[in-house]
Structure formats: structure tokens, C-alpha cells
């Protein structure tokens, strides 16, 4: 390890500590290799010479925070990403959910809402939307704002449409959006039953009695200790026999609470809360 690396590692620790103490954003247990990449990218693109310089800026100037958060949190996603996941929800999970008179679904770490609207469309196609309340949470206010606006770039729609079709679509994706603002805007009836909320998986407590939690490609950014905390949070937020969907390369294997769940559709990383 070179001296430069060592200094940068010290700077990262101090920076994350400062962010936590000043703004209560806690990235201290994020997986280090990725957070470092993102911080270095932020430093270069925001034009700072060192992470210490960003630290000074963000401590004294609140307006730096939102820009920084966009580097630290926003993840690129797409609608119906991994269509086989949505097909498995459609064919295997929703028939179970259809037996409930009312449903709660939590999209944890919803970012700009691509996954939320994919689920909303899926639930509508399967006739469950009107009895479902969706909770869409994220720690980044800009991302939540974008999720609520539901505007996506036009050049993404072809990919979204192909994904939607592969998920076993019963309708056309174009039924749900119209052209606007140089992109497309999704129908506001899709968010009639959505509660957007600022919630941190790191520091906030459980949501009650969900039938389904979908949290994909979020846990990979956490270290094992934080993964354990969040998986316990999901367990405590799920109703009896509730479902948990993770990203295609995520698993509960390396977490402490694996025994609290049983694999339901293992190849799609869909788990069910175990009895007891």
C-alpha cells in the first residue's frame, strides 16, 4: 500500500464520520471498495483536490450535501430489471398475495422509482393494485423527488418495454406513460397508492407488517455488520409468511439471520419469512 492510499483511507474514515456527525447520514458501514470509488469519483468530478477538501466544504456549506449524496447513493436502475424476477413474482408470489384482503409492499431503497413503478404495473396487471399500499423509501431526497415525478428518459423506454414484455406482461407499457418534458411521464394513477418516505435502512426502525419487501442491489453496498442489521429489520417488518425479494446476485447466505427466512424462489432470490 502506498502512502497516498493510506492517507486517502484516513480521509475516507474522517469524511464519513464528519458526514454522520454533521448531517446524520451514516455511510460508515458501507462496503469500502465501492464507497471509495464513489468518493474518488465525486472528488474528481466536483473538482476538489482531496477528500479533506470535500470534507471542509460539506461541513461548512450545506449546499454541497445534495450533490455529494447523488454520488454516494443514487444507483442507476431500469424498469423491470431482471424480468425473470418479476415473472417469478407474477407467477409464484402474487397468487399467494391475492388471498389477502389488503396488502402492504415496501420498496426499500427505491432510488428514482423504476422498481416501484414496475411493481405498481405488475400489481395492476394482476388485479391487486387497488388493495395494495406501497411504501417507497430512500435516504436521498433528490431521488425520492425524482421517483415522485416519474419522468424517465425517452431513450430508456425501449429497454423498459422489452423487459416488461419478458416479465409476462398482460398490457403494453405504453398504456402507462405519455411523452412529456423531453422524456416520458408515468401515469399518476400508478402513484395514488404510494407513500414516498425518507427512511434510512442504517438508522431508522422497522415498518410494520409488510406482505412483500423488494430491496434489490442495495445490500451489496453494505458491509456484513450492516447487512445483518438490515436483514433483521426486514424480518421484523414482514408479516407472517411475508416475502422478501433481493437482487439476482444477493443472498442471505453470509448473514446471521438466514434461518429467519426460507428460500421461496431460490433462483430469483425470493425468500419467505419462516414461521415463528
Amino acid at each position: 500500500m502506498t502512502a497516498g492510499d493510506e492517507i486517502e483511507d484516513i480521509e475516507i474514515q474522517l469524511f464519513l464520520e464528519a458526514l454522520h456527525r454533521r448531517y446524520h447520514y451514516d455511510f460508515r458501514h458501507y462496503a469500502q471498495a465501492s464507497i471509495k470509488r464513489r468518493l474518488v469519483q465525486a472528488r474528481v468530478q466536483l473538482g476538489y483536490t482531496s477528500l479533506s477538501a470535500i470534507q471542509e466544504a460539506v461541513l461548512h456549506d450545506e449546499s454541497v450535501l445534495p450533490r455529494l449524496l447523488n454520488y454516494l447513493t443514487v444507483q442507476v436502475s431500469e424498469m423491470f430489471r431482471d424480468p425473470s424476477y418479476f415473472r417469478a413474482l407474477r407467477q409464484r408470489v402474487l397468487p399467494h398475495l391475492a388471498t389477502y384482503p389488503s396488502l402492504k409492499v415496501w420498496v426499500a431503497g427505491c432510488s428514482r422509482g423504476e422498481e416501484l413503478y414496475s411493481l405498481a404495473i405488475l400489481f395492476r396487471e394482476e388485479g391487486l393494485y387497488d388493495r395494495t399500499l406501497f411504501y417507497a423509501t430512500d435516504i436521498n431526497p433528490d431521488a425520492l423527488d425524482a421517483a415522485e415525478k416519474a419522468v424517465y428518459p425517452l431513450d430508456q423506454i425501449r429497454g423498459y418495454t422489452a423487459n416488461h414484455q419478458k416479465s409476462g406482461a398482460r398490457t403494453s407499457l405504453s398504456d402507462y406513460y405519455r411523452a412529456a418534458h423531453g422524456g416520458v411521464i408515468f401515469d399518476k394513477t400508478l402513484r395514488e397508492r404510494v407513500v414516498f418516505s425518507d427512511h434510512s435502512l442504517v438508522t431508522d426502525s422497522s415498518f410494520g407488517e409488510m406482505q412483500l419487501i423488494s430491496c434489490r442491489n442495495v445490500l451489496i453496498y453494505f458491509d456484513r455488520e450492516l447487512q445483518d442489521r438490515v436483514v433483521a429489520l426486514f424480518r421484523d417488518s414482514l408479516a407472517r409468511k411475508g416475502f422478501l425479494g433481493l437482487g439476482s446476485k444477493e443472498s442471505l447466505r453470509f448473514t446471521r439471520h438466514a434461518a429467519s427466512f426460507s428460500p421461496f424462489v431460490p433462483e430469483e432470490k425470493i425468500y419467505q419469512r419462516a414461521e415463528g
Binding site: 462496503a31 471498495a33 470509488r37 445490500l219 453470509f254
Partner: protein, 191 residues
Amino acid sequence: MTAAKVSAVAIGASAGAVQALLHILPPLPAALPVPVMIVVHVPPDRDNMLVPLLKKRCALDVKEAEDKEPLKPGTVYFAPSDYHLLVEKDRTLALSSDEPVNYSRPAIDVLLESAAEAYGHELAAIVLTGSNHDGAEGLRAVTAAGGIALVEDPQSAMSGAMPAAALALCPDARVETLDGITAFLAGLVSA
């Protein structure tokens, strides 16, 4: 230069990767004392077919990398399609869904830069055939950290652009044919 202890190997390959990896990996014994991490550019919607293909032909254990998995010697880890593969300082693997780098996810630069941090001078990194320039920045990070840099000879590589780009940034890297790279890796057994 050969005296340094190598604790891990990281490999990047793109166009022509299948033939190159079929050349260098099958001759290696199960007793290879280091883990081998590999990024190959594959389309995001396709499973990495290299794992089953190489598993059949290799004495080494070949698998797709899992998030938080501890690295073991004698094992080859492939980045899953549509995820970056990184190494943490505690020498466990990490995946990320961050935006593509060099239009690629997984990207070779991402693996090499994080591996250079985790292993420093104990890393050997190899850039193989490919028709883009991914891996060049990563290889520079490897050499900066004191690691060993190997590049497939652009003359004999199926696609010389990627090794040439790596050499342009790391002129001191060792240039080897596929046979030379195989010999280097086999030499780690008795080292």
C-alpha cells in the same frame, strides 16, 4: 522482480477471451496457491457461460463470484454479468451495481483498482485480448501499488487493442504470449 510473493491474480479479457482463458487455465493444477479473479466483458442479459465451460476443463475450482465471499486459493472467480467485481481489504469479494465503466459492467478497471488496493505488491494482474481499452487504468494502479503487471503480446493476441492500450499506460509491464502467461501462473505453485 520475480522474488515478490504473489497472493492473488486478477485477469481482464474481452474479445477473444474464451480461447485465451481455455489456453491458460486448464493446465493449472488444483494446488495453485492463490485465488484468481477474472472479469470478462459479457452482455448484461446473458449468464456467464464461461463458468460451466471452464469448470469442466479445469483442475481449479471455477465459480461465479458471490458478494462477501472470502477468497480461497485454487479457485477461479468470474464476475457475474451486469455487476462490477471488487475486492475488499479483508480479501473478500464485493459486487456493485454502479454505472458501467468504459461502457462495461463488469469493468476490468474496477477489479484491478480494488485488487491493487487490497493486495498491493502481492498482486499479479494480467490484461489479455480485447478490442477496447478497459484494464489500462487498472493495470497502472497495480504497478503503482508495486504489483506485477503482465500483458498479452498485442502481436499474437486475437485482438490486440486492449493489451496495446494497457502497454501504452504501463510500458514496463511484462509482455508474454499465452504460453508465457501460463508458465508464469504455473510458476506460482513452486514459488
